[in-house]
């Protein structure tokens, strides 16, 4: 077996770090820490993109690394922290499933993701194809975070983390989507942030809480 180049080893460890951060987010109940973990995940993603850009010499990848840094490391965590302060939501309530249980489900999801990634990484021509499984795992773990949380704020962080996984998947399997698509996706995510912010204040105004349990049973059904 030929030795794996150092850059690739570094990339693989960054991918592993990404997965680790997803698990940390799954277990975290303090909303402030959750946002910090999300920012860290963005940072790791940015580092991985830069490394890949340097290795392939692809100009578009430098651009998308810069985009990741600006949007996911600076703007979003800043906006989220501001919202947390202004709304005073610091702790999530007890998740629907207790934390050890959630972790176990998470481990199963990772196994499933690697199974699913098999045919995809077999096809991908990139050097980083082993990371596709990790990308799918990050997406599914973020999904799990969203399902098990009750606070609107934690659900949103889960949603954004899912986008990180998608981005990592696109990058590791194809060196990124066409630039116009990537720009459009970034724009959509930013607009989604704004919409969420407006929503938080509306929900808060109406219910005096961001607890989504209050949002039930307003339906016109029997």
């Amino acid at each position: 077996m030929p030795p794996i180049p150092f850059v690739m080893q570094l990339l693989n460890s960054l991918a592993a770090l990404l997965l680790l951060l997803s698990f940390a987010m799954l277990a975290q109940r303090r909303v402030v820490t959750l946002v910090n973990l999300f920012a860290l995940q963005g940072g790791v993603l940015c580092a991985a993109t830069l490394l890949l850009a340097w290795r392939t010499g692809d100009g578009n990848l430098y651009l998308s690394a810069a985009l990741t840094f600006a949007v996911k490391v600076l703007v979003m965590p800043w906006v989220l922290h501001r919202m947390i302060r202004r709304l005073g939501v610091y702790w999530d309530t007890e998740p629907l499933l207790n934390i050890p249980g959630t972790m176990l489900v998470g481990v199963l999801l990772v196994v499933f993701s690697f199974g699913l990634a098999q045919p995809i990484s077999a096809l991908a021509s990139t050097a980083t194809r082993s990371a596709v499984g990790i990308a799918i795992a990050v997406i599914l773990l973020a999904f799990l975070t969203m399902i098990t949380r009750r606070k609107a704020m934690s659900q949103v962080v889960g949603f954004l983390s899912m986008e990180n996984g998608l981005f990592f998947g696109a990058m590791s399997a194809t060196y990124g989507m066409p630039m116009i698509v990537e720009l459009g996706v970034a724009l959509d995510v930013l607009v989604a942030m704004v919409v969420m912010g407006v929503f938080f204040f509306q929900i808060r105004e109406q219910f005096d809480s961001l607890d989504l349990d209050r949002l039930e049973s307003h339906k016109g059904e029997r």
């Binding site: 949603f159 066409p178 059904e221």
Partner: protein
């Protein structure tokens, strides 16, 4: 040129109305922009009739018989809804349910919503289609929660999170499609996501990756179509927003989402040489028909009632596309057209009925035929049309779908028939007292402008009796393109 006008006018309209949306004449400005879009869409349709399918702007945009009729339909319903919303919103302002800030948001977002749907329909780039679909969701989220009641906030949040998660799955599917396509078409340039290019090489795409991609795409865009079990957001979103928004969500957005699913299905089926994507469409479609038609019995809110009816019809259309073949595809396309026209007409009448009675609760709405005959008859005729009573277009398409099912998939026919009967009884049992029941209310003064309702129902009636040759040839061409069966 006409395509540019179709895409740029709504965006310009959104910008203008973002500043003047609360102006005294803002509803007329809204109508004017919609009129320009409709005229441009007509020009585009004429061009396709004359010269056939075409691509524009370096293959980034394209029109073919499959999307041109949806572009025309979207522009038409966008125009009539703008006409309807003029008096509707004036009454809402008078009732103090709308403030000027909300009206501005409403007008700007209305134009943006129409624009993003038209972009999703005409773009050749599957990535851009995703971006436009997501933008269409985002532009309507704040409109669903426009009234800021607890129920509307819940609806808005659900719509936002469920569709957001759903559409994230679709993005992953798109990425997978890109991975497979890049192998064949190369990563240079951006041709690997262009639908026409993919369609040309679909036989060479790696089937295993495409099947995984299709699952994600179907779940993703299927959430937006409102397929069971991903339909949870739909009744809330349609019931709680202002009525013009219910009409365009139900009449147009669901069509665009189905369009996305079918475009992807064509590629995947061409690569797989097997019919399981079709089988999945049939399964999801049938499940939606069954769940929605039985859920109709539990509804107490007039707009939720018709929202569930939309799920049922989306199920019928998905099922028909799943069966495939020239006849079923033709019927599905016809059904998309007539459902869109009929359902928006029903929402127009239902909106005025709720305004007159001061409530959306079915029990509070009584005796529309005495209070306001136009609204009452609009609702009654619309309901009969959507239930598939003979001379209307819905009957024609449902009849074609049923006969195809009888020939190709006989096991499905009794299920469909039972569901149609259940839906018929459920809707009629609720609409009949609303229209003809006893009421103590007197006939109300302001007469609503319901021209759009009767124009829509008139077209549906016409389509039931006679499909114009250019439309029929589009349907046939699109049905060939979609294939299957």
């Amino acid at each position: 040129m006409d395509l540019l006008l179709v895409l740029a006018t709504p965006l310009a309209g959104a910008l203008v109305l973002a500043f003047f949306g609360a102006h005294r004449r803002a509803p007329e400005i809204n109508v004017a922009f919609s009129l320009v879009v409709f005229a441009a869409a007509c020009a585009l349709s004429v061009r396709v009739v004359m010269h056939g399918a075409a691509t524009f702007g370096d293959d980034q945009f394209f029109v073919d018989p499959f999307n041109v009729f949806l572009v025309a339909l979207t522009a038409f319903v966008g125009l009539t809804t703008a006409l309807f919303s003029r008096p509707y919103m004036r009454i809402e302002m008078a009732d103090r349910r709308m403030t000027s800030g909300r009206l501005r948001l409403y007008h700007a977002m209305y134009q943006l919503f129409i624009g993003t749907m038209l972009l999703a329909l005409t773009t050749n780039n599957l990535g851009l289609m995703w971006v436009a679909m997501e933008a269409a969701t985002l532009s309507t989220v704040l409109l669903v929660s426009l009234y800021r009641t607890p129920a509307s906030l819940e609806a808005g949040w659900k719509y936002f999170i469920l569709c957001g998660v759903g559409i994230a799955q679709a993005l992953f599917g798109t990425i997978l499609l890109y991975i497979a396509a890049e192998k064949v078409l190369g990563a240079e340039g951006v041709s690997a996501l262009l639908w026409t290019h993919l369609d040309a090489v679909k036989g060479q795409l790696e089937p295993r990756v495409l099947s995984i991609a299709f699952v994600f795409l179907l779940v993703g865009y299927g959430t937006k179509v409102g397929l069971v079990p991903l339909h949870n957001w739909l009744p809330d979103a349609h019931a709680e927003g202002p009525t013009p928004i219910s009409a365009v969500l139900s009449g147009l957005l669901l069509n665009v989402a189905i369009y996305a699913v079918v475009r992807c299905k064509v590629l995947v089926e061409g690569s797989l040489h097997s019919a399981w994507p079709s089988a999945m469409l049939m399964g999801f479609g049938l499940a939606s028909v069954v769940v929605a038609s039985f859920s109709l019995w539990r509804q107490r809110d007039i707009k939720r009632l018709f929202a569930y009816s939309s799920i049922e019809h989306m199920g019928i259309i998905t099922f028909a596309f799943g069966m495939g073949g020239p006849v079923a595809n033709f019927a599905a396309l016809l059904h998309m057209t007539v459902h869109s026209l009929t359902k928006s007409a029903i929402f127009f009448s239902a909106g005025h009925a709720a305004q007159k009675s001061g409530s959306q609760s079915i029990e509070q709405i009584r005796g529309l035929a005495t209070i306001s005959p136009t609204v009452g008859w609009g609702l009654m005729i619309g309901s009969l049309a959507i239930l598939g009573v003979p001379p209307f277009g819905v009957f024609a398409s449902e009849f074609l779908i049923l006969t195809t099912a009888m020939r190709d998939h006989p096991w499905a026919t009794p299920i469909l028939l039972v569901c149609f009967a259940v839906a018929f009884a459920a809707i009629l049992a609720r609409v009949q007292p609303m229209v003809f029941g006893d009421t103590k209310m007197r006939r109300l003064p302001h007469s609503p402008a319901l021209v759009p309702v009767f124009v829509h129902l008139g077209i549906v009636l016409l389509l039931g009796l006679f499909v114009p040759p250019f439309l029929a040839s589009w349907y046939h061409a699109a049905a060939r393109l979609i294939g299957g069966g």
